[in-house]
């Protein structure tokens, strides 16, 4: 899955390199038109493309597989035979999902940066505010964006873990998690449901653009972290309750 994710920025970079017609400014994903001028934008563009679907997809697969996958393979009861306790198993499984969130985001960012450096010239980066920053600082900001997206995906991982405790069919848990992430994003785009928007776990997913402003706006980073922490707390508590009462038969 990481390889598939790494392919996205490479595809973008190659497609932009091969197309003779320069992309019109303002069309397509963020910064697509500026890739030819500065390769460092490949990473950001790739992240913008991946956040709505590809990243939730892979995170949904990993998070949905955590408990249900073990149950399906019949290995869950052997894991529980060890004197480690169910909370610990749950925590370790969640930590694994979190590690994947980070690995996935970092993969996209790193492969994007690499593809951009190889195929396009590299120079000072223009921020949304119109100011330019050095290559070093832009790398720092890329790291911050990767951190932001990792945090953004924590809530979804917790939801996946919760669903995973309810079923023995991993595919069901994966599909339900991914569907939830899509539903949440659709709801987030309906202006009629504005009161609901701040509570949707996908509401701040694209807020990492705030890290590309000068000076950096930390508001959405903080609000996003708080929201995801809330989802982790609620889903974690429910997952613990369900899992500790579960009759593990397989």
């Amino acid at each position: 899955m990481l390889i598939a994710l790494a392919a996205v920025p490479v595809l973008i970079a190659v497609a932009v390199k091969l197309s003779s017609r320069p992309a019109a400014p303002g069309r397509g994903p963020l910064f697509l038109d500026r890739i030819t001028q500065n390769g460092l934008f490949v990473a950001v563009t790739a992240l913008v493309v991946c956040v709505p679907l590809f990243l939730p997809l892979t995170v949904g697969v990993v998070a949905g597989d955590t408990i249900a996958g073990e149950a399906n393979l019949g290995t869950l009861r052997y894991l529980l035979l060890a004197p480690a306790g169910r909370i610990r198993l749950l925590l370790v499984k969640y930590a694994g999902a979190v590690a994947f969130c980070f690995a996935a985001t970092a993969t996209v960012a790193a492969s994007g940066a690499l593809a951009g450096v190889v195929l396009f010239p590299v120079g000072p980066v223009t921020l949304l505010s119109g100011d330019t920053v050095s290559v070093g600082e832009s790398a720092l900001r890329s790291l911050l964006i990767a951190a932001y997206i990792t945090v953004s995906l924590l809530g979804l991982s917790a939801i996946g873990l919760l669903i995973s405790t309810f079923t023995d069919v991993p595919v069901g848990a994966m599909a339900a998690t991914i569907v939830l992430s899509v539903v949440s994003q659709v709801l987030d785009n309906l202006p009629q449901l504005e009161w609901l928007h701040p509570w949707l776990f996908s509401h701040y997913w694209l807020g990492f653009a705030d890290l590309l402003r000068q000076p950096i706006s930390w508001t959405s980073f903080g609000e996003n972290a708080l929201l995801q922490a809330g989802y982790i707390a609620v889903c974690g508590a429910l997952a613990y309750a369900k899992f500790s009462n579960k009759d593990v038969l397989s």
């Binding site: 069309r27 000072p124 949304l128 119109g130 202006p191 609620v234 508590a237 613990y240």
Partner: protein
């Protein structure tokens, strides 16, 4: 069984605790603070005395005028096609940095994009990140008669107080206060974490659509922090502009030095030329229209009535082209007898078939009778 229940306990308690925390937080945010009471005159004097020259803050503008929401992204929306209507619907957030009267920066924070206005002495830069375009305005030798639809950012008004701050809007309303307005003090509130006095302007006229204007004034500095305009028969404020964050320290000087990024399309203009339409917006439409009539005068415009129920009329041919040619605006226009009308909860504009335009914060019928009278 008891054990099972015990295990479900945290699952119940944690969401409950979070819900309580959220509720408590929102109650606390809305709680009024206790300040020594002041009369309306004292508050007005505070505003007049305010000496805030530097600040950095975040302002949020919300307009609920009853217009359909304009999509700002998605298929079919050309980049840069945001129109005057955009700032008449929905909510917008902007960051504002001011250092003295000559240096200011406004950043309209769009989703995945940003529009910047940087004013530094006689130079003004408009930058739009969506299409990476920049417009550089330099001050001309002598300003000419400002057109009604140009932003109040032209010299000699090309100064920081004319940024769309709560202070600027409040200033316009207060400047128009006369015998037709009842000014009262209305307790205290909290805006952007600062305690504030509330000042309410009530039009004495029953003809106007405006129900009341509330201005929240910082209790320490006398700086207006928020302006709410309420329309008759609407619970939500029709228009509100408020700080959500405010810091009264001097912002970093580097913020006001703008160099267009490499690859940007730069347009050089010498004033008075209308800047890029989308860039003109942060300050232009709402404040221009919302403020009471007297200072809205274009060539040939005439004002009938006084105070809140005044009607501005423009003779044929002088209507700004944007009113008739803008496709988004045309969609919002409704056909009425003798022409078309833009009706909102706060402002009505009547465009007659013969080209005359009538506008005012009054019901449509009054515009029609004013049109018939001429």
């Amino acid at each position: 069984m008891a054990r099972t229940r015990q295990r479900w306990l945290p699952a119940l308690l944690i969401p409950l605790a979070l819900a309580i925390a959220v509720l408590f937080g929102s109650v606390q945010a809305g709680a009024s603070v206790s300040l020594p009471p002041k009369t309306a005159e004292e508050i007005l004097a505070m505003i007049a005395r305010t000496e805030v020259r530097a600040l950095s803050g975040t302002v949020q503008q919300t307009a609920e005028l009853g217009l359909p929401e304009v999509p700002t992204s998605g298929p079919g929306i050309a980049p840069g096609a945001v129109s005057a209507l955009e700032f008449l619907t929905g909510s917008h957030t902007a960051r504002l940095y001011v250092d003295g009267p000559l240096r200011a920066r406004l950043q309209v924070l769009d989703r995945m994009a940003e529009r910047d206005v940087v004013i530094n002495g006689g130079d003004a830069w408009f930058y739009n990140s969506r299409d990476n375009s920049a417009t550089h305005l330099t001050a001309p030798v002598k300003p000419t008669v400002p057109d009604k639809h140009e932003p109040p950012m032209l010299p000699p008004e090309m100064t920081a107080p004319d940024m769309p701050t709560p202070e600027a809007i409040a200033g316009r309303f207060l400047a128009a206060v006369d015998a037709s307005t009842e000014v009262t003090a209305a307790g205290s509130s909290t805006v952007a974490g600062r305690s504030a006095y509330s000042l309410v302007l009530n039009p004495r006229s029953a003809e106007t659509l405006v129900d009341s204007v509330t201005i929240n004034v910082d209790s320490e500095t006398g700086l207006p922090l928020a302006v709410d305009v309420r329309a008759n028969g609407q619970a939500e404020p029709a228009y509100s502009l408020a700080y959500t964050q405010l810091d009264l320290s001097t912002p970093d000087a580097g913020l006001f030095n703008f160099t267009p990024p490499p690859g940007a399309t730069v347009t050089e203009k010498v004033l008075p030329v209308k800047p890029v339409p989308s860039m003109a917006l942060p300050s232009a439409p709402v404040p221009d229209h919302v403020r009471p009539a007297p200072d809205v005068r274009g060539p040939g415009a005439s004002v009938t009535g006084k105070g809140w129920d005044s009607v501005i009329s423009l003779p044929a041919g002088s209507a700004p082209a944007e009113l008739t040619s803008n496709p988004q605006l045309s969609q919002a226009l409704q056909p009425v007898g003798g022409g078309r009308a833009l009706t909102t909860s706060l402002l009505n504009v009547l465009i007659l078939d013969d080209g005359r335009v009538f506008a005012g914060m009054v019901p449509l019928e009054r515009l029609q009778s004013a049109a018939a009278a001429q």
